[in-house]
Symmetry: C2
């Protein structure tokens, strides 16, 4: 059996995941990850989902959530975690689900096999049984209606390496479960699962909906079905008797079982709330822009606009602002300030849409950064030109260049620092003050007060002060280590 | 014995080496290096070195070479390879050597133990015997008159992990040895050494002067000494009989035995020649600046100027040039052009001196890059101001800003690319044309033709075209991978 395993370097597996990473995380790249066994994923999408869809003609796997269907989200989550082979089990409304899978297959160029389960009414265990003729090695089982972070799956796959029993992902934070009554609970003894069911008591955790299946699971499911219960939980109960099922604790991450309209709304809210990056976002971004950009992104996910197009749109909005600054006069200046601040808000949407729709890319992140710098250049040219109309002296332009270099070099110095030291420069008030969100907001306030040029000079100075501060800080640190000149 | 081993992560060991690396190499950081055993280094500095110093009062370990003594170079090479514990064996002229070691100890804050060998006249084997009461674990033996790249030592230490026999670094390129007649040759059978000596024939390689010693070496040396030969080679010959000595091939790197005045001059020339970076240097840097900066660096290494001070000096020279550009008039413009080109040449010296004197640091590299950008800003301001005196229109400044952003963003885009993709952007003609060495040379030529502003605009445009080209290139590459939006 070992021979048939597909072993490939973790680098390659997580290639897609990293491709999608919006920001570099040094540690992840540097840590040796060794080799991974790549499991196929069996996604269960055969049930009726009556609690979510009711009597409507909607199908649960096809339920849209922030621009993607639930099934699409499941597959893309798997893909981000490095999975490349999929079996989707269909049953209820199979024609529509199959045609949706066809769409996904061509859109994402993925290897999906559709497996029909005529006995879906007997329970989700029969859906797993339906794949028994296709898989013989260990495989992952996922529910199309469970949303979770790709990190959960990566962690689970890591824990599953070399395991010869079945594994079930469980969450001990059952106080945070939306619909605890309906959740499947498990009782634990160490890693061992000793009981499973919706009505067991006491219990230690809840079933999170991700399993590692082994061939032995099929016979357990057969047996349970013969005994009249076609659910996956019933099969797992037989494994308990044979001590063939253990728990993997995934209590560190976000996941949700989208079973009702309420949980769908809750999932949507949480996905949107998770878009904030408290560690990276500047003051304005965190307290103002994110709240607005999230609302815009919520609408944008339903359009065919890609993140890169949104980046370009945000750039164009700022360019218009920059041009209006050069016209002069309070009305145009104010409008220019508004456009620049709008551009700053929309600038957050590209990354948000990318994360919501699994479209993050290194190119996108890089493109965004480069256009941001060009937009800054345009703004400075516009403001300086507008000011020069009233003050046609060289110092207008020298001031503009001073501000511009502060804006560009503040970012430049950060990149260079990250390249040399393998982590971001120390954060702090000055660093936050030299960030782009505050810069554009400052220019907006300057425009409001009809003093955009003065605001620009002030913001430029702040950036230069930050650069001086960081140089001095690092120089001092280094002096304490005499070995490192 | 295992208990006494000092195990520490490779990260930590190579910390100093990396601290000293002038440019980031991604692969080195990303590859998992595991754990290393840290050997102490025994440096033999007891001999008279008559062939090098003759009847002069010079001592071989104290012979200066490009700003450092031979002994200092040996120790710093070890340090760069991650070694932290040193035994220096002294004999001939020991008072002076010991007082020099005291100096080194306080200058570099290193742990050095001086071991006296009163029997140094009997051969270098007695110098190894002199440390027998201090070391019991495996240890490295080095000659203070052998210069080599730290990479040799890192490779050797890697090969020596867990070895229970003695190891000798050998070089198969004996046709390139300066003084082959005097070199110690070895005959090989696979990794096994089967004969060693200056006059053996045939031979397969030459002794490079780095050994891994084991406690058994001491008894071999004792025996050889009792038999009348106190040389290290004689001791090794006894190990051959016991099959306790193997060879490690280090034919990939530069090393030299500094035994005569000729080899000292050869070493100096090679160290200077190795300062070129054919892969990184631009056209002007490679064909013009390096030839001049090497000559300047050759002088600078004998001054107390640190690389960071040289960086600052080069910055000041360019600042003077930038100021003179703003004065206007052909004479000042020409002088400004000359100063800018001089600054460009001196800008290479900081890195060269740092590498020659083992003073490279991340801070230094970062400081250099940041000052380069500020120098570019000053030049653009100077040239634009000078042009504005004759052409007081806004387009002068808009052109200046265009050029400036080309200069700064060309570098910015490269950094950002390296951060996202973990390697440098693809090189090519446009990339070379947008490098700083060519930019400053172009401004010098512009000054020569009394057209610095026009030259600046042209160079700025080239940079913007490069940025556009690289964005387009990467965008096209990515379109061929539909998974990675």
């Amino acid at each position: 059996m070992m021979k048939e395993m597909i072993l490939l370097p973790m680098n390659e597996i997580s290639g897609i995941a990293r491709e999608r990473e919006r920001t570099m995380e040094w540690k992840k790249v540097a840590s040796p990850q060794g080799y991974y066994h790549r499991f196929p994923a069996v996604i269960l999408a055969a049930g009726q989902g009556r609690r979510l869809c009711g009597s409507s003609r909607m199908l649960k796997p096809l339920t849209p959530l922030l621009g993607l269907t639930l099934l699409e989200r499941s597959i893309l989550t798997c893909q981000e975690a490095g999975i490349t082979e999929y079996y989707v089990v269909v049953g209820y409304g199979k024609e529509k689900v199959i045609s949706h899978i066809e769409e996904l297959r061509s859109r994402y160029q993925i290897s999906v096999r559709v497996v029909e389960n005529p006995n879906w009414k007997e329970g989700n265990g029969t859906s797993v049984l339906a794949v028994s003729k296709y898989v013989s090695d260990p495989f992952l089982i996922l529910m199309c209606d469970h949303l979770f972070e790709p990190d959960i799956l990566q962690f689970f796959v890591q824990a599953a390496q070399g395991s010869d029993v079945c594994l079930l992902a469980v969450d001990r934070r059952f106080d945070q479960i939306v619909d605890l009554e309906d959740a499947t609970k498990v009782r634990l003894h160490g890693q061992e699962i000793t009981a499973i069911g919706k009505r067991i008591n006491p219990f230690d955790a809840v079933d999170m909906g991700v399993l590692l299946g082994q061939p032995m699971l099929f016979s357990a499911l057969e047996q349970a079905r013969r005994d009249g219960d076609g659910s996956l939980s019933a099969g797992v109960r037989y494994l308990i008797d044979e001590r063939k099922i253990q728990a993997v604790d995934v209590s560190d991450w976000f996941w949700i079982d989208v079973d009702t309209r309420e949980s769908l709304i809750h999932a949507k809210r949480t996905l949107l709330a998770n878009l904030s990056k408290p560690e990276e976002d500047g003051f304005i971004s965190y307290y103002l822009n994110r709240h607005l950009s999230r609302r815009i992104s919520e609408q944008l996910v339903d359009t065919p606009l890609t993140p890169n197009i949104i980046t370009a749109l945000s750039f164009l909005v700022v360019l218009c602002g920059a041009f209006l600054f050069s016209v002069g006069g309070y009305f145009w200046t104010l409008l220019a300030g508004l456009l620049v601040q709008l551009g700053s808000i929309v600038d957050g949407c590209d990354g948000e849409v990318a994360r919501l729709k699994f479209q993050s890319s290194r190119f996108g992140a890089w493109f965004d950064t480069v256009l941001d710098r060009y937009a800054d250049v345009a703004i400075v040219q516009g403001i300086s030109y507008g000011y020069w109309l009233a003050h046609p002296v060289a110092f207008t332009w020298l001031g503009g260049i001073l501000a511009l270099t502060g804006f560009v070099l503040a970012s430049y110095v950060k990149k260079e620092y990250t390249l040399r030291y393998h982590h971001r420069p120390p954060s702090g008030l000055l660093e936050k003050l030299s960030k782009r969100d505050l810069r554009l907001f400052g220019l907006f306030v300057g425009a409001l007060l009809n003093r955009p040029f003065e605001a620009m000079i002030l913001l430029g100075l702040v950036s230069h002060v930050w650069i001086g501060w960081i140089l001095l800080t690092i120089y001092r640190q280094k002096r304490h280590k005499p070995l490192c000149n």
